[in-house]
Amino acid sequence: MANSSDPAPRRRSASDLLNLLGTATAPLRQSLAVSLSALGDNAQGAFARHFDSGYDPSAFTGHGPRGEGGIAVRDLSVRYGERYAFEDLTGEFPPGSLTAVIGPNGAGKSSLLKTLAGIIRPTAGEIICAALARHRVAYLPQQDELDRGFPISVVELVALGGWRDFGSVREPPDDLAARVCEALAAVGLSTVMDRQIAELSVGQFQRALFARLLMQDADVILLDEPFAPLDESTTEDLQHFLERWQKEGRTVVAVLHDLDRVRRNFPLTLLLARSPIAWGDTSLSLLADNLARAQKTLLPPEGGRIGRVA
């Protein structure tokens, strides 16, 4: 943490960053970018949509009022083969709200989050979300979905959060290194920034992913079991970010298992058991008979196979 205020390491990691983002290929990417900017606006937009992965010139004009950051879903269903992950979900995550999604294994919680993030296409129904259309949604996957052996360093991982500013081929902006350092300091990882992610503990890795979320500066933040692998103190540290994001007017949705934590920290709860059981005020959603109903929906006949879906 002390490092972040010290100018020397910051400069070093700035040069590291430039290195890592590919000095060797810079001229080539530069010429690609130049030839891109020679295209008309429409062609550029189309390229950005299909190819340049989210690089969006209009993203530089700051963010609009966060108020529009809510998500409304109507009759939303996702099906794998013949089995529904979840179905007929209608409702709203209000702008600037903090919602917990809970439910038994196989209830479709993870699938719901991936659908909201635009990673899975819904089988039916629609999502109305201005942030999704503008790629201002950030998504934290479950840890085991990422390859921890992948050769990438902590700075690199966190720098990816600024993807919107550089996309596939462009030069990263000058202030990227400073912003990465800031994000790392905020999660308390300044001392390990040059390590490979394989060398991090589970808790440190989760902190790094939170730093990437900070970099993304999104209007909607979706977290899949953010605290599942963590010890109590790390959980408390990271919980603060959720509350901070909500105060900043961002919409936060998190899949959780810990009912006590949900009661303590989450004003709203969606109880999901493939179809929605209850959605609204946490104290009402988590009434005992709702929970029992959610359990019962997903018990056998095919209980043994359900776990694979989530």
Binding site: H50, G118, I119, H135, D147
Partner: protein, 289 residues
């Protein structure tokens, strides 16, 4: 003495045109296989890559059936069936009807048998050996130009699109969430793999085409945890194995393709041992703390 030794190393290449062409072809392959092999390993898709190397065979065999040893027919056929199997594999992966590894093995077995049947129906035993194991020393100038073009194009594309290719292999969901271009890069990468396997096929045949792509990259992985050094090291290892393999096959009168792959294999073995030793040391240090 040292002059003699240098003569021993360079003599075959000075005296024989086919050795020079083989060497340049192997160098070109190594240059492209460095990045492609490294990316393949980072994506944990070595098995998929191996399947594609066999998927090239039926098409190449069909090309052979219609046009004999015509470079363009072999190449076109190989690329077509390679891409077709890649597409099928993507479809079956999405349907989740069967575990993907058994799917891939099925594709691999069927492609291989189908290819062998086609070649056997028309050609001789020698033709079959040629298609299965390749003949590095029979690469002619036309094939060399093809290999070199594919290799150059591959390096340009990887250099230009390295960032999204790498991110797509690490966290495809992230790329989808920030933009949505994820699938395109996956497709581009698979296409690069198929084209390089077709290039490799000219020299190493369908059974060994994967060797020069995978083994140097796997060996490099043992020495470094950073991607650019890994790519560079894989390229150097590929080239070294090519020189060693060609010389061994020349002096000992052994088939050159397998000799080169054996060369990479030995470097891989040494690298594994070295990696084990450093890891042991590291754990001892940890224990002491």
């Amino acid at each position: 003495m040292s002059g003699q030794f240098i003569g021993f190393l360079t003599g075959p290449f000075e005296s024989f045109g086919f050795m020079r062409i083989a060497l340049v072809a192997c160098f070109a392959l190594a240059l492209a296989n460095g990045p492609i092999g490294t990316l393949l390993i980072m994506r944990r898709e070595s098995l998929g890559g191996n399947v594609l190397s066999h998927a090239v065979m039926p098409g190449a065999a069909l090309g052979f059936l219609y046009a004999g040893y015509s470079l363009s027919a072999l190449t076109l056929g190989g690329v077509l069936t390679g891409l077709a199997v890649a597409g099928l594999a993507a479809l079956t992966a999405r349907s989740r009807l069967q575990r993907q590894d058994s799917n891939l093995i099925a594709f691999y077995l069927v492609s291989l048998s189908f290819g062998v049947l086609i070649v056997a129906a028309r050609g001789s035993q020698a033709d079959l050996m040629h298609v299965l194991f390749g003949t590095v020393l029979a690469v002619d100038v036309k094939a060399l130009v093809l290999i070199a073009s594919i290799s150059s194009l591959t390096m340009l594309i990887v250099a230009a699109l390295y960032r999204p290719l790498a991110v797509e292999s690490f966290d495809p969901a992230f790329l989808r969430a920030v933009g949505g271009g994820g699938g395109a890069f996956r497709a581009i990468f698979i296409m690069l793999v198929v084209f390089n396997l077709v290039a490799s096929f000219q020299a190493f045949g369908t059974l060994l085409a994967m060797g020069p792509m995978l083994l140097p990259a796997a060996a490099a992985r043992c020495w470094t945890h950073k991607v650019w050094p890994m790519i560079a090291l894989a390229t150097v290892i590929g080239m070294a194995a090519a020189v060693a393999g060609l010389l061994i096959s020349f002096y000992a009168n052994l088939p050159s393709g397998p000799a080169i792959v054996m060369g990479s294999g030995m470097i891989y073995g040494i690298s594994l041992l070295a990696a084990c030793r450093t890891r042991l040391k590291a754990t001892q240090l940890w224990g002491r703390q």
